[in-house]
Symmetry: C2
Subunit: 812 residues, 2 copies
């Protein structure tokens, strides 16, 4: 089942709409075959569940004593959800509380039960430990493989083909002048032709570079297409949706994990303009989901499992950047939906374990935890806030531009024939990227290396082109270099960087959303870092040549070191990342963890804030939210306030001219009546009322439970025939002796459905749905049942109010 | 109105109980005079509010169109709350949304309105800036004054009496050998007797030390008692309660701010075993509250104001420790109740501004932001986790012991005559502290200096006693000192530290809760740091003398530097602070910001986790929660799960044998009937039903609105007499022509009260109250109104289920 099935081809799919009052004809086309998911949802596999009465009291509020029965003897399939459905948070949390209560009560009975209770309490921590270890190890593996394969595009190590360029030269015994040019490392032309210089050698290297890139990316897209369609993209929009309570089976499964890990390495190595940070979050969440199966507590409860996934997301960011605190805040701010304090603490633990596992593996060979370690020495001046804010504006503009263009391109991919040829698309984009990238050394190197180099502050011994300043050793004191005139190397680098910037800006738009694992963090940061470095060098040169200007007087005298271009690169990176993702605190904290100094938080924050404001002024949504909306996931955004003045009666079904709500009466319908209702409608549940005339609400009953119970009673209970009265009350009314026996179904009735009055403002209804995680809510007027609002209705209404077509938003 | 009035003397006070079904006879004794707060609550000052109909739709859900009326023409007093009442979060948030909607709609009309809309959007940021600046400045002022006054107890500077010891010696032009012994600084004996050595000089210095300490603390307690009784204590329990929605007028007022700032300096300088960190949070919250008055948006809305206070709390911790990220997480984890993401970002901004303001003031004279800056060089070994976990256990035991003893002592203070003599109590405790403290140099110095010294890793040039090791310069390489044998200085220091530990452990129990500002962070950290340093030195000596033992082999050979006693002190401090406050992530992050290295997070985390588990096993509550419960604040804990199997019907009023619920019918009661109900009962609101017979719920009306409306109608509306029918419906039933005119009161009816069914499990009801911030909730059965549950009922029920006497818990 492919993401394209979910996102591209089908007309719609069943989501949170636990019950709706319109007949659901939505069909989900999966891998070319049309499957009616509403059938899958509404018609339970009866043969599986004939074992007894289903005592599951789904729907609104519950957790009553009847719950305990099936805790003791769980029926297969009861309490689980179908694919593409929304979970009921209230019910899941109730179930967990029941389970916990049960264990606590038993723990007083025997020592063994006490031990069980203790182990249950610690299982969460153990799970976090495992997730941290696994996520850290996988991240290490990915880092090492990607590093090696990236270098493979340029050459091979004679001392052992499994060494990357850097390792190869470490292993070298011979002396060599240039840091990276050891004799053991052979470029492809050296290996094949025997020499590395000259036009032909260059062309050969160029050719090999493009060929390897194409090989890697084709392998990646074929693996994704063939084995795990969910492995493509960054995964963060889908994880946000899953954490909000949606179910996408297999999205966090073992196949996705395996394929995503492999294809991520391939995609990164192919030199495409993508990063591994977002996909690493997906990989970590897969680890979390798979490891949940070790513990019943988490395997069987969708709400508890989501707590684990939140923590896993934190571990993912933690290993992606080496920033455990930033990871936790990212999970809190960006990804998670329900984030209790207990999860905060556990996420932190998982993030730390993951970070330290990664450090023990030491993939960068420098004992550093962080991806881009930087150390700046110079404080910044208040006036520098002006260029920092300019970078913020650039970041915001770039973010808004990127989101618009990328969404437009993805929409085109979905709606035109373009989407039918994902392999060809990847081939073309890779070819263009590789061909454009090779001639420019700043695009030829891997993007994270590029960012590292841009962040770097030039020391005395730096040999890179970016540090080719005109040296004046007379004024040098110690390691602190004063501002100097740029040499020819710097000017060349500036041109190359400007070209690299243009290329990255455009190619990233087409890359993000292809059928390979692709993260956005690194390309966004690269764009910002290039812009920042360019601006930084410009300001530096301005200050060097014009230190007598009024704006420089007092803080930037001749021969002083006032401007750090690396800091500008870092600020630019933060601004662009902020513009694209609209992260705020987590972004600044991740950057803070990279530099390790509180000193630079203010510039970072100024840029991030400006960037967010500018981007928000152009378009409210971050890239992840935009993709959620593009794909029509049923995500009830917790950040945005619903600010319209509609009321519950405007949203509820039935609408004015619709037929009245289908209800079941508590003690006057026969088995046949109910069976007719169930057959004629496709709703997932029905309100139960005192009588049709009074419409006073008694409770809510699920279609699934109703069918199972009647089916079972007809088979096993004597005297239940079509004319038997179904009775949902405690004491059924006396019947004439000749009538058939009564079918008592109180046990399947949810006696505490959520209700609101018809006059309730929608802003409050939205708040209730969001905070309590409801699936549906009944609407009453003066105590009489009027209608029902499902999560689907709420989402449709929000889309409608935002002037978006509700149908195209939710079912595309 | 004193905190003692709130916490000690009275039998009870009216809290969140917006309506209860028992007659409230609770009296609040304030400053000796008995005031019936329920009267103050239930009988609005009518003369103030006669101007028109109150269109305020308080109670459950609202935010309807009628809301807009009073937005345009606010009536005095409407929409505000009485003292010691709980706010209705739903209503406040609705009101803010209405206000926001209004401004947004208007912004399209004119440029000025657009500017107003923009300035409204930015006012939150501006407010944060002001809070940061003010909190940072105050913290700087407090730091500088406390430093100076602490030194004043020992002597005075001849170069200028306003210099503290350290500054005095910086100003000195003469050369002197010992770091701190410059000729300009005169101890009291030097000043008075002319010499500083000898028994008599020692006794004189001792005497002056005690006298100054007594003077400071007496001044502090008298100021607190005389001017701002709310200024005592740490303030964090009360701030938690306020943030959860309770109103304590004046607790965050300007008098509290002024007096708390002054007395905090006095209390810290007096040498009592207390810290300034908790009170700084209170000071910052006062700043936040006062600055809210600058902006209508925050002044008039209790929910928005609480968002600001959350951010202010973050700024407070930020300046207390120089840890902005830790501050935000502290606010999130420990203090705040409602913490939307927008607040997270703003808190961070406020915390940063505050931290940088403090750094610009530079109170420690070392350009460091943090209170205890430490830099360790040596990595730790995995085996060292054993002593770290031991420190965690110690921290947990100390935390649990401290909480129990302190609560027992505070209870005794409240219930016996002890509480009547706060000044005497402070006098005695200060005298004992000062007398015991002077002879021991580790208790004589200020607690934060002590902690600094304990955290410090001994360098080559360190002259303190703690660093008097037997030097072996042959094995020294650079600045890294190997483990060495302890010299006599270390042994003396060990004994003194052990004595200091015992003293601190006991004196802190009696100090926290006295009528002076007193924080707990520093004393707790001191206890832990001493214990940690003792253990650290012990392990170090063990490793030095027994490096051939199996446990040391492989990582601690002879002459290696394996053990850093300062790290043990830091881990111990974290463990003890964790045991007392039960902070987790914020604690680790604060400690991380102090050291600035991810390296030591794992030891800190291991200790904090162990400490929390050990302390939780002995008693669930942290010190702040324990004080909240002791003082009977209506705080609905968001962290604890309610895990009992009771249902709404078990909690609601009326109970089984009570008289039925007082209701008003929608169109059949006369003005006289309603006035009788209002006179005979004291409830704050009444449900409105279709008819007494059907009991079908229509809405909820507030007593306050009812009285105002009737009063107003009788005066201004023709034909309204006692026999007039009151009608809450849209269309009133036709009456015979002879009858008096009908009083239409639909506008004051809340048409969307929250309801649950009687079968709803209490765990879900508690969840709803917590997440939505309700004040009351109506209970129905089959659409008929059965009863009501107020926040008070919920709190009482939780106390009852936890085997605590509900009355003594909530009204003491």
């Amino acid at each position: 089942m492919g993401l394209e099935a979910l996102a591209m081809d089908q007309k719609g799919y069943r989501r949170g709409s636990f019950q709706s009052s319109t007949s659901d004809e939505d069909m989900l086309e999966i891998a070319g075959a049309s499957v009616d998911l509403s059938m899958a949802d509404d018609d339970p596999p009866l043969d599986r569940e004939m074992g007894g009465f289903s005592t599951y009291n789904g729907g609104g509020m519950n957790g009553k004593s009847t719950m305990m029965d099936f805790l003791e003897e769980p029926l297969p399939g009861v309490g689980t959800y179908e694919d593409f459905n929304t979970i009921d948070w209230v019910r899941e949390k109730s179930r967990d509380r029941d389970r916990h209560r049960e264990i606590t009560n038993r723990s007083k009975e025997s020592t063994w039960a006490l031990l069980h209770s203790v182990s249950d309490a610690f299982s969460g921590w153990l799970l976090m430990l495992f997730i941290g270890l696994l996520a850290g190890s996988l991240a290490g593996l990915i880092d090492i493989s990607a590093h090696w394969m990236t270098d493979l595009k340029e050459g091979v190590c004679l001392a052992g083909f499994w060494f990357n360029h850097e390792h190869c030269c470490w292993k070298s015994n011979t002396t060599f002048t240039d840091r990276d040019k050891c004799p053991e490392w052979k470029s492809w032309s050296q290996l094949i032709l025997g020499y590395g210089e000259g036009a032909f050698a260059y062309i050969l290297n160029y050719f090999m570079y493009v060929v390897w890139a194409l090989m890697f990316s084709l392998l990646a897209v074929l693996l994704v297409k063939g084995f795990a369609p969910y492995a493509c993209g960054s995964g963060i929009p889908e994880i946000k949706t899953i954490l909000s309570g949606f179910i996408i089976r297999g999205y966090l499964g073992k196949w996705t994990l395996v394929i995503k890990t492999i294809t991520l390495v391939l995609a990164v190595s192919s030199g495409l303009s993508l990063g591994k940070e977002g996909p690493l979050v997906h990989v970590a969440c897969c680890c979390g989901n798979i490891l949940c199966h070790l513990f019943t507590k988490y395997r069987k409860n969708e709400a508890k499992r989501r707590e684990v996934l939140s923590a896993a997301a934190a571990a993912g960011v933690s290993v992606a950047f080496g920033a455990p605190i930033g990871g936790v805040l990212f999970s809190l701010e960006e990804v998670s939906y329900y984030f209790p304090l207990k999860t905060l603490w556990r996420s932190f633990f998982a993030a730390l374990v993951a970070a330290f596992t990664l450090r023990s593996i030491n993939p960068f060979g420098n004992s550093r935890l962080v991806l881009f370690y930087v150390e700046f020495h110079m404080p910044w001046h208040l006036l520098e806030l002006v260029p920092f804010i300019l970078l913020g504006i650039f970041g915001g503009l770039w973010g808004a531009f990127f989101i618009r263009s990328n969404i437009a391109w993805c929409r085109r991919r979905k709606t035109t024939r373009l989407g039918k040829y994902p392999v060809l698309e990847v081939f073309v984009v890779t070819a263009i990227t590789a061909i454009l990238a090779f001639p420019n050394e700043y695009t030829r190197m891997s993007t994270s290396e590029l960012i590292s180099e841009l962040f770097n502050d030039c020391g005395i011994l730096d040999s890179s082109k970016l540090c080719e300043y005109v040296n004046d050793f007379n004024s040098t004191k110690g390691d602190d270099l004063p501002d100097r005139a740029a040499g020819p190397g710097v000017y060349t680098a500036m041109w190359q960087l400007a070209l690299a910037l243009i290329m990255k800006v455009f190619i990233t738009i087409f890359t993000f959303g292809m059928k390979v694992p692709s993260g956005l963090f690194i390309p966004s940061m690269a764009v910002g870092a290039i812009a920042g470095r360019l601006l930084g060098v410009a300001v530096e040169q301005l200050a060097f040549y014009h230190h007598d200007w009024a704006i420089f007087s007092g803080w930037c005298s001749q021969g002083a070191d006032c401007i750090t271009p690396g800091l500008y690169a870092m600020v630019g990176a933060a601004a662009c990342l902020g513009g694209v993702t609209r992260m705020t605190v987590s972004l600044v904290v991740i950057m803070f963890e990279l530099t390790g100094g509180l000193e630079y938080i203010v510039p970072l924050m100024a840029a991030a804030m400006t960037s967010k404001w500018v981007a928000d002024a152009i378009g409210r949504e971050g890239i992840y939210d935009a993709h959620i909306r593009l794909n029509g996931y049923p995500f009830l955004e917790a950040k945005e306030e619903f600010s319209h003045k509609t009321r519950a009666m405007d949203v509820m079904r039935p609408r004015k001219n619709d037929p009245p709500l289908t209800v079941i009466t508590q003690d006057s319908m026969t088995v046949e009546d109910v069976e007719t209702i169930v057959t004629k409608t496709t709703y997932s549940g029905y309100p139960v009322v005192v009588s049709r005339a009074s419409q006073r609400l008694v409770g809510f009953v699920l279609r699934r439970d109703l069918i199972i119970s009647i089916e079972n009673a007809r088979k096993k209970q004597d005297g239940i025939v079509s004319t038997s009265i179904i009775c949902f009350t405690d004491y059924c009314p006396p019947l004439p002796p000749s009538s058939p026996s009564v079918l008592k179904l109180r046990s399947i009735l949810d006696l505490s459905p959520f209700t609101v009055t018809d006059e309730t403002p929608m802003e409050i209804v939205v708040d209730i749905f969001r905070k309590l995680g409801l699936r549906q809510c009944l609407v009453t007027h003066n105590g009489k049942l009027l209608g029902i609002i499902t999560k689907k209705d709420v989402l449709k209404h929000i889309a409608q109010m935002a002037n978006q077509d509700p149908e195209s938003i939710l079912f595309n």
